[in-house]
Every structure is written in C-alpha cells, then in structure tokens.
C-alpha cells in the first residue's frame, strides 16, 4: 500500500510555517513515516515539473502557507489545487493574508518607490527595479509579477480546510495531519481549531473583571504588563476575545497580548470590525471629546485590529483614490 502523498508549499511568507512543521520535533518522524512528502521546496529537492507530471488529485493533501502576492504564487496555487484532493491553507497568511496583507494599505507603486528609491538606506543610483522580463549576461530572465493586491489563498482558488496561526502550533498541526490520515475530516471549509474565542482557554480569564470600562489604552512598549492579570483589563489591546482559541494562549503565557493570528470565529465576517465594536462599546466616557481621548490610545486601528486579516476583511484593502 503506497503511503498518502503530501505536499508543502510556501508563497508570500516568512518561513515560520515551515519551521512549524519542523517544530513537530520527534513527531515529525511519525509524519514522515506515515506520509510520502512529494514536494517541499524548503526542505526537499523536488521540482515544479515533478508536480506538473503528477496525475490530478494524486496528492492527498497540500499544505500551502503564505499569502498570494505574485503571478508565480497564483500559478502554483492553481497547479497544486488541480493535483490535490485536499488543499489546506496553512497558517494565517494563506488563511487571511497574514502580515503581508498589511501591504494592502499601500499602492504597489508606493511600496516599490520606498523599497527601491526613497528608503533611507537606499543606494540605487541606477534606479533599478525588479522587472518581469529582462536580460542579464545575454540570458532572458523572467521574474514573477507583483500583484497590486495581497490575497488569501481562498481568494485565488477553492480551499478545503484552514489551519490558523502565525504559525500554527505543533499540537494543531499534528491534530490536522492525524485527522487527515484517519479520514476523520469535518465539513469542507472548516477552520481546524476550536470555534470559541481565546478567552475560553486563557489562564488569566478569572482575573478579568465583569465591569470593564476603558479609560485609557496603552501599547506594550509603553508600560510593564502585569504577569498575572488579564492583559486587556490592564488597558493593552489584546485581541483574545475576538480570536479563535486552540493555541493554548502561548502569547499571553509569554506576557504579551494576543494579536489575533488565529482569525475570527465562524460567526464573524470581519474580525477587526467585531473587535472594534467590542472594545469601543466598553470605553468609559459618553461625550465625544472624552471618548476620542481614550481612543487616542489606539493610534493605528488598521494595523492593530487587522494585523493578520486585512486581505480577508470586508473591505480587503485601503481603497485607492480614483486616478
């Protein structure tokens, strides 16, 4: 009996999700034994044409991490979709756009301007920019085209499951792979993590008061976070109430607020909007000026509430001005 074929691929990502697979530690041997990894650019020497040569749906599951930002990533997404029974969006970037999704606040042109010309440490007198096609030493060179908009995987191809997290925890990954191997999969489209907000499993839940009324907000670099008490109750934005659980609150246990990487529960369309609703509703003052003073402690609502989810939010990006 041949082992089920499995593939891993990375798009616009940091490599953290590959680390997460490796972080399965001893368990990775169990994984490697049970499956046949036929494609993993980070760790193995298979080529794209190997994938092209496979029959459709011959890969049982592809775990694809990273957001979709280039033409090549779109191409690979379509290819792997064709060749896989199950296409799984692995990690926050492929699930929601992730940190790269924050680029949706800017126009591509502005990003390239900054990265290749206006950046303070830039030394690029020739004004070189990456080109889709160019020649170098007589050879024709093709580079992928950068898209204007950063996308989540499901904004490009049909996705079967999501494993959330930045990165997903080893426990979650193991559970997902296990479920896959046993054939015990939930309905298509499910996010493979508990559908309850993080507060449910947070060790500091008991210390959160039932009469919270915010009079100020602080950012983690502005004050010391008390190690015992609910972080949100201390005035630091913790996305826990609006974020799925399943990570065992690792960030909170590291005395840092949750930043929302597991995304919203299935009942919420837009994580950032819902969290805004909750946190603003609980602001203490009633008068506009006083309200604004409290809210001034959140200088960057987009970056704070949509740190991982901007590409999948209802508006998807900062709407560019016409022309």
């Amino acid at each position: 009996m041949s082992k089920p074929k499995v593939a891993f691929y990375w798009c616009a990502s940091c490599g953290g999700c590959e680390e997460a697979i490796v972080d399965l530690a001893e368990d990775i041997l169990g994984v490697v034994e049970a499956v046949d990894i036929i494609f993993w650019p980070c760790a193995m020497d298979f080529k794209k044409k190997d994938v092209e040569a496979m029959p459709d749906k011959s890969i049982v599951a592809t775990f694809l991490n990273g957001a979709i930002r280039t033409s090549e990533q779109e191409e690979m997404a379509h290819l792997l979709r064709r060749k896989s029974q199950y296409l799984i969006a692995y990690g926050a970037c492929s699930a929601m756009g992730g940190i790269p999704g924050l680029a949706n606040q800017f126009r591509l042109e502005d990003i390239l301007q900054f990265a290749y010309h206006a950046g303070p440490s830039m030394a690029n007198e020739a004004g070189t920019r990456p080109q889709v096609s160019s020649t170098d030493a007589g050879h024709a060179l093709r580079l992928p085209q950068l898209r204007e908009v950063v996308r989540s995987l499901d904004q490009v191809v049909d996705v079967d499951y999501y494993i959330p997290g930045c990165p997903p925890t080893p426990k979650l990954t193991k559970a997902a792979v296990g479920a896959l191997l046993e054939g015990k999969l939930p309905p298509k489209g499910t996010v493979l993590s508990p559908d309850v907000a993080l507060c449910d499993e947070c060790p500091r839940k008991a210390s959160k008061p039932t009469d919270l009324g915010f009079v100020e907000f602080k950012r983690p670099h502005q004050a010391i976070i008390d190690q015992e008490k609910c972080i949100l109750a201390q005035g630091f934005i913790c996305m826990g109430p609006a974020t799925r659980g399943g990570c065992e609150a690792v960030c909170v246990q590291g005395n840092m607020p949750c930043s929302g990487c597991f995304g919203p529960t299935s009942r919420v369309k837009d994580q950032g909007a819902k969290f805004l609703s909750s946190v603003a509703s609980n602001v203490g003052p009633r008068e506009e000026g006083a309200i604004d003073q409290v809210l001034a402690g959140i200088p960057d609502p987009v970056g704070t509430f949509y740190r991982y989810g901007l590409a999948k939010s209802l508006l998807r990006r900062k709407v560019p001005k016409p022309g």
């Binding site: 779109e74 093709r142 909007a273 805004l276 990006r317």
Partner: protein, 163 residues
C-alpha cells in the same frame, strides 16, 4: 444599462423608537426628500454592528447613515452611547482605509424631528453625490482582473522555462 446619471445608494440603519418614527412622521407630513436612502429598521442604534456598515460598503453602498435617539434619550437607556463610541473609532479607521468621512454619518434624530430626517437625507445625498460612486463591488472586480484564470495558470504551468 440605463443612461440616467448616477445616483448614490445610501443604506440607512434607523432605530425603531426615534429615527424610524421620525421618518414615518416625515411621511405623514408629506415632506419631500431625495429618494436615495433605503432603510433597515433596528430596535436600537446600539444594534448596529460595524460589520453591517462595512458589509454595506462591500456590497455597493455609496454611503451609510445611522439614525438613533439623542444622547440621554435612548429608549433602552444607553445603546446610542455605545454606537457613538464605535462610530468615533470606526470613522477614523475607515478613513485610514480610504473611505471619505462624508460617506458614513451618525445622526441623532428624535421621534418628533421629521424635518430633520428630510434635511439630513438631502444633505447627505448632496455630499455623497459630490464624492462620486464608491462601488466597492466594481472595484473588487477591477482589482481581481490582474489575476490569471485557472486556464491561464495551468497553461503557464506547462510552459517550459525561458532560455
């Protein structure tokens, strides 16, 4: 398509006790105002979830109007204060996301202020008209044109490496 000039479409969320009643009063008094607003009735402006507002824009609204009771007069005590707090942050955040402030408006209109319904709607329609269409669905469509189709992607995938 018809060749009539573009008219803004504004989705309004009105609270049952004050603004919706005031709009009824405007109707009973036969006041006349612009026809661009379509109202969704809720019990309280506190029920207005920011997701509704963003969803309205995402589905094609050019403007969103929220009507509630004056501060201190909410039929349920304080729902309108919660709405106000959300609004203060939401308008700033939507501004950061490229939505002009005139497209999202919060007004306190009491049950007796039928004339205010008329003047607010007329004013908002005028301002949104000046800004032009928002048409986020149309924008989504045009942004997504940069993507390759599945056929293109697969054809490209079979493409040999350039020499």
């Amino acid at each position: 398509m018809n060749d009539k000039p573009w008219e803004p479409r504004i989705v309004a969320f009105f609270c049952n006790w004050c603004t919706y009643t005031a709009a009824d009063l405007a109707g009973v008094s036969r006041m006349k105002y612009a026809a661009n607003v379509r109202t969704i009735r809720l019990m309280c402006s506190g029920r207005v979830d920011p997701q509704f507002i963003m969803d309205a824009f995402a589905k094609g609204a050019d403007g969103v109007l929220i009507g509630g009771c004056h501060p201190g007069d909410c039929h349920y005590g304080e729902g309108n204060y919660k709405m106000l707090r959300r609004f203060q942050l939401l308008q700033r955040m939507l501004g950061d996301l490229g939505i002009e402030p005139e497209r999202l408006r919060l007004e306190w209109i009491s049950a007796a202020e039928g004339d205010k319904v008329k003047s607010v709607i007329n004013d908002m329609v005028e301002k949104v008209k000046a800004l032009g269409p928002f048409d986020l669905p149309g924008q989504f469509q045009s942004w997504d044109r940069e993507m390759m189709t599945e056929a293109e992607a697969l054809a490209h995938a079979g493409h040999q490496e350039a020499k």
